[in-house]
């Protein structure tokens, strides 16, 4: 029990968030949306880590989360830079149209 809420709820919330993220990544064609969905998945994991860290009274889970956040921030910075370059060159960020990599 964390603050009166059972740990199962945290797990379910995380699972739901993660699945939303996965489905979003697979279903949507807009690159920015895909990005956001990836962030969603990362944060689902973060939530789970924090929840268990509190449950077990072990701070290392929270330290992990800090690292994940830092890496995610860096990744977003790089990813958005790539996307803006892609948009400049192709005038679109629809991933189905971005199949030039094949050839």
């Amino acid at each position: 029990m964390l603050n009166g809420i059972p740990i199962n709820f945290y797990i379910m919330l995380s699972a739901v968030l993660f699945i939303i993220g996965v489905v979003g990544v697979m279903a949507r064609r807009n690159a920015i949306i895909i990005f956001m969905c990836i962030e969603l998945m990362l944060n689902a994991v973060n939530l789970l880590l924090v929840a268990f860290s509190t449950l077990h009274n072990d701070a290392s889970g929270q330290v992990f989360v800090f690292f994940i956040m830092a890496v995610a921030a860096a990744e977003v910075a790089v990813g958005l830079a790539i996307l803006s370059m892609v948009y400049r060159n192709f005038k679109t960020i629809d991933i189905d149209l971005l199949s030039r990599l094949k050839n």
Binding site: V25, M26, I34, I95, D96, S99, L101
Partner: protein, 628 residues
């Protein structure tokens, strides 16, 4: 001084490095002098060490240098051994080597490969010194292979000529056959005695069982057969005459070919333990002596005659080894080094004067044109023929006397071989230096005595050939055989002469009478009756033709070994190489192409599809890790 023995091989190595790396930058004569002085320095140190050893009570000094191979059970230190045998060989190698270096400066003067020649020559001397100095079989083996390499390089010295290259390859490959035997012998020694250092092996050698020792002795002898050109591995030596003449003198007469004899004398304990192995050595030796001597009778190339004579003399030395006359064989190695080096260098001087011609049928009457060469050649010929009181007389007689004790039959064949030797050597002398000149007019005008760099070594060697015999005067003359006593410490089982003096005198008389009669016969044939060899090879018939063509041994080897090997390789090429190996290699290639052309279809280029694949992959991983 003995502690400084490492300097002996070091000087020629330095000479090799200087000439090898900086030879192009220094002048020709300087590089020749560097090489010669390096060998001279080694000779001086060898001489000092020899004297010190002579005065010292202890006759065997081991000089450790460094630890070489150091693994679990195999511990091989890099040590040099100074004892009467190695110190004597040091003197021969560096002494004769120095003379031949000096001679080469004259002989190779106009050759464009002058520096390269001296580089190889120094390298050869280095390896040869390593061979005799090492205190274990492995160092000997390194030297053994090294001299083989130098022999290859020097036979094929004029590498633009394909025939010479083939001769070089032949020498190398034929030696490999022997080397394999030698290597197996070393391994067997290690397995049996747990060491390959001489001092350790020889002290426990008598504990070995007789069969093993016989096998070791025979394997070592196979090595000696290759290096010292014995039947059936002798055919490389006559072909090795393709190299420059000083090389023939140094490597293929005086030093390298005696390595086999050194090795057997070194391991004499094995041979004195095994009667069978000694018998094999004696029989192979006498067969080679006789076989090569008959071939020598009809050769027309001056160097080929000397080459077959070398094979025959080496056979005689092995006969001596086989009957247990180790010190007599080393004595013969010594005198043979003197007179055979002399004969080869003399032949080189003749070839030099003839402008490269080696066919004796085109020579004749050179005595007045080449007075010094003629005289020294005559001395060499007398010495090898066993003319009384010259060096060859004593050493050959000693071997034959020991052989007689052992087996009169072997003695008879040995005696026949030495009679034949006297005949063909005088045939060479008479055909070359007497009678009328048979070459062209230009050659006759070109005839000249060689420069003093060439004649001085000849004169020194001639003096040694005359007086070399005093080293080992026969005991029954009431003198002491110095040489015999010198080598005594290294002979495991002494073999004192059991013949009475009357018998020894008789044997000596027979040998002398036979030699003189043969010389007279050769004189009658080639001077009195002026019978010349047929100018055309085809006119020979019967046994003469057989011998002239060297018993067709090369052709037999060609048919029995090379042809089947070629055929076998052809079969392997057609079947194994083209079908199996190529099939596998090409099959792998086309399989990869085929599979990838299928898999390539997955790469659509659509990012969505990739992400889908990724998610599927992650799910699969999770499934197999947690659920299963």
């Amino acid at each position: 001084m003995i502690k400084l023995v490492a300097l002996i091989p070091l000087f020629p190595l330095l000479g090799f490095i200087i000439n090898g790396f900086f030879g192009k930058k220094i002048s020709k004569s300087l590089s020749g002098w560097i090489a010669s002085l390096a060998v001279l320095a080694s000779f001086v140190i060898s001489l000092l060490i020899f004297m010190e050893l002579e005065n010292s009570e202890v006759k065997s000094h081991i000089v450790p240098l460094f630890s070489w191979i150091n693994s679990d059970t195999l511990k091989i230190p890099f040590e040099f051994l100074v004892d009467p045998l190695s110190s004597w060989f040091l003197l021969i190698i560096t002494g004769i080597g120095f003379l031949i270096h000096i001679y080469s400066m004259g002989y190779m003067h106009d050759d464009e490969g002058f520096v390269r020649f001296f580089t190889y020559l120094n390298l050869f001397v280095f390896f040869m010194l390593l061979l005799v100095l090492g205190n274990n079989y492995l160092i000997m083996f390194v030297g053994w292979e090294g001299v083989g390499l130098c022999s290859y390089l020097l036979i094929g010295f004029w590498f633009k000529n394909t025939a010479y290259n083939n001769a070089a390859k032949k020498a190398f490959i034929m030696n490999r056959v022997g080397d394999l035997g030698f290597l197996m012998g070393i391994i067997l020694i290690f397995i049996t005695f747990g060491s390959i250092s001489y001092d350790q092996v020889f002290t426990i050698a008598s504990t070995g069982n007789e069969t093993t020792v016989t096998i070791i002795a025979l394997l070592l002898f196979i090595g000696a057969m290759g290096k010292s050109a014995q039947l059936p591995l002798y055919t490389w030596l006559p072909d090795a005459m393709a190299g420059p003449t000083p090389v023939s003198a140094l490597i293929h007469a005086a030093t390298m070919v005696t390595a086999g004899i050194y090795m057997i004398v070194r391991s004499n304990i094995f041979y004195s333990m095994s009667e069978e192995a000694s018998h094999v050595v004696a029989i192979v030796g006498v067969a080679t002596a006789l076989f090569a001597a008959t071939i020598g009778l009809f050769q027309n190339d001056i160097k080929k005659v000397l080459a077959y004579s070398t094979v025959s003399q080496l056979g005689l030395m092995f006969l001596g080894l086989g009957v247990g006359a180790y010190s007599s064989s080393v004595f013969h190695v010594t005198t043979h080094a003197f007179f055979k080096a002399l004969l080869f260098l003399g032949a080189g001087s003749v070839i030099h004067a003839m402008g490269g011609e080696q066919d004796m049928r085109k020579m004749g009457g050179l005595w007045k044109h080449l007075p010094i060469t003629g005289k020294v050649m005559a001395i060499g010929t007398l010495a090898i023929s066993g003319f009384p009181l010259l060096s060859g007389f004593f050493s050959k007689d000693e071997i034959l006397a020991h052989t007689y004790e052992h087996s009169p039959t072997l003695w008879f064949f040995g005696q026949v071989a030495s009679i034949l030797t006297a005949f063909y050597m005088f045939r060479l002398l008479f055909l070359t230096f007497f009678g009328k000149f048979r070459g062209t007019h230009e050659q006759e005008h070109h005839l000249h005595e060689s420069p003093s760099t060439m004649t001085i070594p000849l004169i020194v060697l001639a003096i040694l050939s005359i007086f070399g015999g005093v080293l080992g005067l026969p005991e029954f003359w009431g003198t002491t055989n110095w040489f015999h006593h010198h080598l005594d410490p290294i002979i495991a089982h002494k073999n004192p002469s059991i013949l009475n003096h009357a018998k020894e005198w008789t044997l000596m008389f027979i040998a002398t009478a036979a030699a003189l009669a043969t010389i007279f016969f050769a004189y009658m044939v080639y001077i009195k009756n002026n019978i010349l060899p047929e100018a055309k090879d085809e006119k020979l018939t019967g046994i003469k033709k057989l011998i002239y063509n060297k018993y067709y041994v090369d052709e037999i080897y060609e048919a029995v070994i090379r042809k089947p090997l070629d055929l076998l390789s052809e079969v392997f090429y057609k079947f194994l190489d083209l079908q199996v190996v190529d099939g596998i290699v090409n099959g792998v290639g086309s399989a990869v192409t085929g599979v990838s052309s299928l898999v390539r279809k997955v790469q659509t280029g659509h990012i969505g599809f990739y992400i889908f694949g990724m998610v599927l992959g992650i799910i699969a991983i999770l499934f197999f890790t947690f659920i299963k």
